[in-house]
């Protein structure tokens, strides 16, 4: 047997900035954000590219979750939030008065830290999104349920118990159900806020593999505390610190030869 090294793999190539021929999904320009008097984000400039997994890493309180929640305007649920600057999503500033948050959120789905299925059946969880947007046809809903559950690699595990309560699923299955629920509204972008922090290693692996397969059809932005995870699954990594983007580059570059000392200190666990 002969073993051939994959000649297409060249580290130098991977580290090159290949962003030129990619579509920009989100273009954040001079974004500042305050919670009351506290500034949580400082002059953020970041481009998120299509069909990539972008990881956001940084210590607690660095603003990474805040930034993620700004991308689908979930932080508006907190009354004291003020922002300046703009986030252009597919050519449109999401802070425009005419841009309704509900409209944005049908394009930008979100998966949360703790699996949070609704206290309803598996089926009802999936169709919740389509239903609130006015889809009532049972046939279409059935189709959406199957497609979404297949997309989240959960169909085979739950196809015989769609009417059962979602709380009967394991933690990992619940999180995949939440991903399926998100897929049901056929979003363009999926935001994930530490989606595996409450899961065991096997479930984590399943979600990570899922992300790799979802990347073909979606743009994924993930906030994670787990640096190995960021290194494993993401194409691009942004390092946040005290509300600022310290370094944003290809994941290969960030984890092998970071340009900023602070980045290196953080990824090698020597922070502070």
């Amino acid at each position: 047997m002969t073993i051939t090294i994959n000649r297409e793999f060249k580290l130098e190539d991977l580290m090159l900035d290949n962003s030129k021929n990619k579509d920009v999904v989100y273009d954040t320009k001079n974004l500042n954000l305050w919670y009351g008097e506290d500034q949580a984000l400082k002059n953020i400039n970041l481009k998120i590219y299509e069909n990539e997994v972008t990881a956001i890493i940084g210590p607690s309180g660095c603003g990474k979750s805040t930034y993620l929640k700004t991308l689908n305007r979930m932080n508006e649920l907190i009354p004291s939030v003020k922002t300046s600057g703009e986030i252009v999503y597919r050519g449109r500033n999401i802070f425009d008065k005419s841009y309704k948050a509900e409209e944005l959120r049908t394009q930008v789905g979100m998966v949360f830290q703790k699996p949070n299925p609704f206290p309803k059946s598996i089926y009802e969880n999936i169709v919740y999104g389509p239903k609130i947007h006015g889809i009532k046809d049972k046939k279409i809903l059935d189709e959406i349920v199957e497609k979404s559950l297949r997309g989240a690699a959960l169909w085979d595990e739950v196809k015989d118990r769609l009417k059962e309560n979602a709380y009967g699923l394991s933690g990992g299955q619940q999180q995949r159900l939440c991903i399926a629920r998100c897929l049901a509204i056929e979003p363009d972008v999926i935001l994930m806020d530490e989606p595996t922090s409450a899961l065991d290693p096997i479930s984590t692996l399943k979600i990570e593999e899922l992300m790799q397969s979802l990347k073909k059809d979606f743009t994924i932005i993930i906030v994670t505390h787990n640096m190995q995870q960021a290194a494993r699954i993401s194409d691009r990594t942004a390092f946040f610190l005290s509300g600022e983007v310290i370094e944003y580059n290809s994941t290969d570059k960030i984890f092998s030869t970071p340009e900023n000392k602070k980045t290196e200190d953080y990824i090698s666990g020597r922070f502070g």
Partner: protein, 219 residues
């Protein structure tokens, strides 16, 4: 001691082990020429004996490096430190093997007078040791300038190698009874030339450690 302090200590121990390996290798290389110059078979045999601890130390460095990777999952510069220590240890072990090979050659030719004084060969050897010291210094101090200088010294070794081989070939017609000796001496020259290449590798590893990308020094 925090976990990361322990990690730093581990990285240091790894470096210390590599430097210890260097010390042993350097002694072996020095002794090999002492034996060659003085046609001392006992000393040559001693080099054989002393090669075993060197092999063992290299294995230990590998095992320790793997343990550090497993437990600390280093990234970026830390990871390169560990990987580079493995690579340098392997180069050093190889250098020690050349010392053994030189000792073997010594044993084969120690019972007869040399066809000529080993001037150029000794100069080569001197250069190799100098290079090695410089390469290890560059590794210990993570000094890019020193690493680049190692490559320059290697050019001199290659040049000397050419001279030595030419000399030995020119002696062949008149010394047909000493063909064994001539071929063994040219082997020794060959070992030194290879040693130079391995030392250049050490310098390259150092550059990779510091810069995070590969440089080719021995062209």
């Amino acid at each position: 001691m925090t976990i990361r302090e322990k990690f730093d200590v581990d990285l240091h121990s790894l470096q210390d082990a590599v430097i210890e390996l260097y010390n042993k290798t350097e002694i072996a290389l020095t002794k090999s020429f002492e034996a060659l110059n003085t046609r001392n078979i006992d000393l040559a045999l001693q080099i054989f004996e002393e090669d075993r601890p060197i092999d063992r130390l290299e294995e230990e460095i590998n095992d320790f490096a793997i343990m550090v990777i497993t437990r600390q999952q280093p990234v970026a510069t830390d990871l390169r430190r560990v990987i580079v220590s493995i690579k340098i240890a392997s180069d050093l072990e190889r250098l020690a093997d050349y010392a053994v090979n030189i000792a073997k050659a010594t044993i084969k030719i120690a019972n007869e007078d040399y066809v000529k004084p080993l001037i150029h060969l000794n100069e080569m050897h001197k250069n190799v040791l100098e290079m090695l010291t410089l390469a290890i210094e560059s590794y210990r101090e993570e000094d890019v300038a020193k690493a680049k200088k190692v490559a320059e010294l290697d050019d001199r070794i290659d040049e000397l190698y050419g001279i030595v081989i030419k000399d030995l070939l020119s002696l062949t017609p008149d010394n047909s009874d000493k063909l064994t000796q001539i071929s063994q001496l040219s082997f020794v020259a060959r070992y030194l030339e290879r040693a130079g290449d391995h030392i250049t590798n050490i310098a390259e590893s150092t550059l990779y450690l510091v810069k995070g990308r590969h440089y080719i020094l021995n062209d």
